[in-house]
């Protein structure tokens, strides 16, 4: 049984000009011990779908799905109270901006301890010891003293380690990391990523890594989902995806990687931008930017078949 299973997820937000679907018809499956990467440009809905899984889409956003199960439990059927027993305990999330994701008014140790206390993860008198242990686990030196520091007294990398410590404090079965390294210096990025992978391996967690960095995907993921404009356009195992991308968008993303562009004078780019609220094209959402566009693509929305949402997938028998 999959750890997290989501079928036909849609997330809508009300705007001044009617409802806007930020995520549309997305399926996600994560198994225990698996690393799934969700890739896409900014605004592709990759974070929103995971926030929906965590139950963090606030009113007036609206979440619908045919299936949303965690470890066999129907998340949508749970009461708010019961869902909070899962969120933060069995499934936890690390966010993009470590500097603003921690409460500036409380010491970091207190913030980790709060997660432990609210889920009764350890006996009350063991909370402090556990906080120190967690901080050491995520590689924060001098943990006993650092736990009294405020977020503004620490660097971004250190704060992200605190966020990770907080997320793993109750030994979650699934960890979602939403672009955990984007806001950090390049030298720190690698350390944080390695930390996440080590923790994933040692705890046997499922890990969902949201990123826009194909390099990160290649290094870490077992399986990849590519998102575009709120839809999943392709899903494959990492090796297969890098060897033979099937959606033209994925192919274009991979072509834009410097490592793959040897011998070419300039790096290829994808023309145009991700469609916003007002300029959704009819038919395939990628058709204005696609090199293989046909009349069918302009008129009819493609459905997902064999892990790709495309009328003219690459490598398909013509």
């Amino acid at each position: 049984m999959a750890l997290l299973e989501i079928r036909n997820l849609a997330v809508e937000f009300g705007t001044a000009r009617g409802r806007f679907r930020a995520v549309d018809g997305v399926d996600v499956t994560v198994d225990a011990g698996e690393i799934l990467c969700i890739v896409g440009e900014s605004g592709s809905g990759k974070s929103v779908s995971m926030l929906a899984a965590m139950g963090l889409i606030a009113w007036p956003g609206r979440v619908t799905a045919d299936v949303m199960r965690f470890d066999g439990t129907d998340l949508l059927g749970l009461s708010a109270r019961d869902r909070r027993k899962v969120v933060g305990k069995d499934m936890a999330m690390v966010f993009q901006e470590p500097m603003t994701s921690l409460n500036p008014c409380y010491p970091i140790g207190w913030q980790i301890a709060e997660a432990l206390r609210v889920h009764n993860a350890v006996p009350r008198n063991k909370v402090q010891d556990r906080v120190v242990e967690l901080l050491e686990q995520v590689g924060i030196p001098d943990a006993g003293r650092r736990m009294n520091a405020f977020p503004h007294q620490m660097s971004g990398g250190m704060n992200q380690r605190v966020m990770i410590a907080m997320a793993i404090s109750c030994n979650p079965r699934l960890l979602i990391a939403d672009e955990p390294t984007t806001a950090l210096d390049v030298t720190i990025q690698k350390q944080i990523l390695d930390l996440l992978i080590d923790l994933q391996a040692s705890h046997g967690m499922g890990l969902v890594l949201i990123t826009h960095d194909m390099g990160v995907v290649a290094e870490t993921a077992h399986r990849v989902q590519v998102m575009y404009a709120g839809q999943m356009v392709e899903e494959q195992s990492t090796d297969a995806l890098f060897a033979a991308p099937r959606h033209p968008y994925t192919a274009a993303l991979l072509d834009a990687l410097p490592e793959r562009a040897h011998g070419r004078a300039r790096l290829p780019t994808i023309p145009g931008v991700v469609p916003g609220i007002d300029d959704r094209p009819t038919g395939c959402l990628f058709n204005p930017r696609c090199g293989l566009v046909t009349d069918l693509c302009r008129s009819t929305k493609p459905l997902t078949a064999n892990g790709v949402r495309c009328h003219t997938p690459l490598g398909a028998p013509a």
Binding site: V87, F95, E97, T100, S101, P104, C105, H152
Partner: protein, 338 residues
């Protein structure tokens, strides 16, 4: 940490000195700009012989150059001498300190009333943004902030005292009771005296002035709390708190309100000046025997030393409160507590 606290305090106090000198200069100017000679004002309308006038002028130093007079005044102030009331011949300081507790009691009651209602209302409006409650509160808030409180007080008297007859019209306590003025705060003194009748009388006298004086702070606090909460509820750390699986009340109160309070407390602190201005009107309407009432009467009696000394003391009080707010702000906001 303690050392940096002291440095912060020291820097703030250093900034106050020029303001203080400016304030005393304003007070000094008051007496010298008022039409008529201060000595003549002092002797009243009986008139005085020119020789005697010159003698007195010399005696009080009014023949000295302005800057020397100002210097003398400054020395006098630092010694704590604020002059004498022309009418009662009592020292201004003495009169002020006798009446001051009444004003403080009323102001504290008003601000507590405003906070007790305004903070929760602002929080609820922010959490239920766009609801009927939110719109209702915002409408009431802008109305409250536009309220001419001297008229508001009159209307309250008209409704609750004259028409319904449930509250007294003026004063702090009914004449039927005598309570030993131990702290000067009527409610506390009544509580200590263990006289229930006195207690309920003091409360019934307090309720209308408290509401009237608290109306504008209430409007400001509710509005400020709402907008501050709205901002904070969008912060990343609130999302983190929810991602921990905390209940909504805990997220709102422990994580959001704690941060939202920082600007609200500043606004409350800075509203003390406005509160004292409002106290002048409220005390006048309810014949509340406080400093505001005293100052308004001093104008009618042309008792300029009282107006001068009283204004100066109130300005100093505002300076002190602002300093206190700064320190409290540093305490509430760890980010500036380096």
């Amino acid at each position: 940490m303690v050392r940096s606290m002291f440095r912060f305090l020291f820097r703030r106090i250093a900034l106050i000195v020029p303001t203080f000198i400016g304030v005393t200069f304003m007070a000094f100017l008051l007496i010298h700009l008022v039409p008529g000679d201060p000595i003549e004002a002092r002797v009243g309308e009986r008139g005085i012989a020119p020789e005697r006038l010159a003698e007195l002028r010399h005696e009080f130093g009014y023949d000295l150059p302005m800057w020397q007079q100002f210097f003398k005044y400054e020395v006098q102030i630092v010694k704590g001498d604020l002059g004498m009331s022309v009418v009662t011949q009592q020292s201004v300081w003495h009169e002020f300190i006798t009446l001051f507790p009444a004003t403080v009691e009323l102001s504290i009651a008003a601000i507590l009333f405003a906070m007790l209602i305004g903070l929760p209302m602002g929080v609820i409006a922010a959490v239920r943004r766009g609801s009927a409650f939110d719109y209702g509160l915002m409408g009431m808030s802008v109305t409250g902030a536009s309220m001419p409180i001297f008229w508001w007080g009159l209307m309250m008297i008209l409704i609750f005292s004259v028409t319904l007859g449930i509250t007294p019209v003026s004063g702090r306590i009914s004449d039927a009771f005598f309570v030993e003025p131990w702290s000067g705060f009527m409610l506390i003194d009544c509580y200590w005296s263990e006289d229930e009748g006195a207690c309920s009388s003091a409360w019934s006298h307090m309720i209308l002035p408290m509401i009237v004086l608290g109306t504008i702070p209430l409007a400001i606090i509710a509005r400020m709390t709402r907008s501050s909460m709205l901002e904070v509820l969008n912060e990343d750390y609130v999302r983190t708190a929810r991602a921990k699986g905390l209940s909504t009340p805990r997220v709102v109160i422990v994580h959001a309100l704690r941060n939202a309070l920082i600007p609200v407390v500043t606004v409350i602190g800075l509203s003390v000046s406005g509160l004292l201005g409002g106290a002048i009107l409220t005390e006048t309407i309810f014949s509340w025997p406080g400093v505001g009432h005293w100052l308004v009467e001093s104008i009618a009696r042309r008792d300029y030393p009282v107006l001068q000394g009283g204004s100066l003391l109130i300005a100093v009080l505002v300076i002190m409160v602002n300093l206190g707010v700064d320190l409290l702000y540093g305490f509430l906001n760890p980010r500036i507590r380096r």
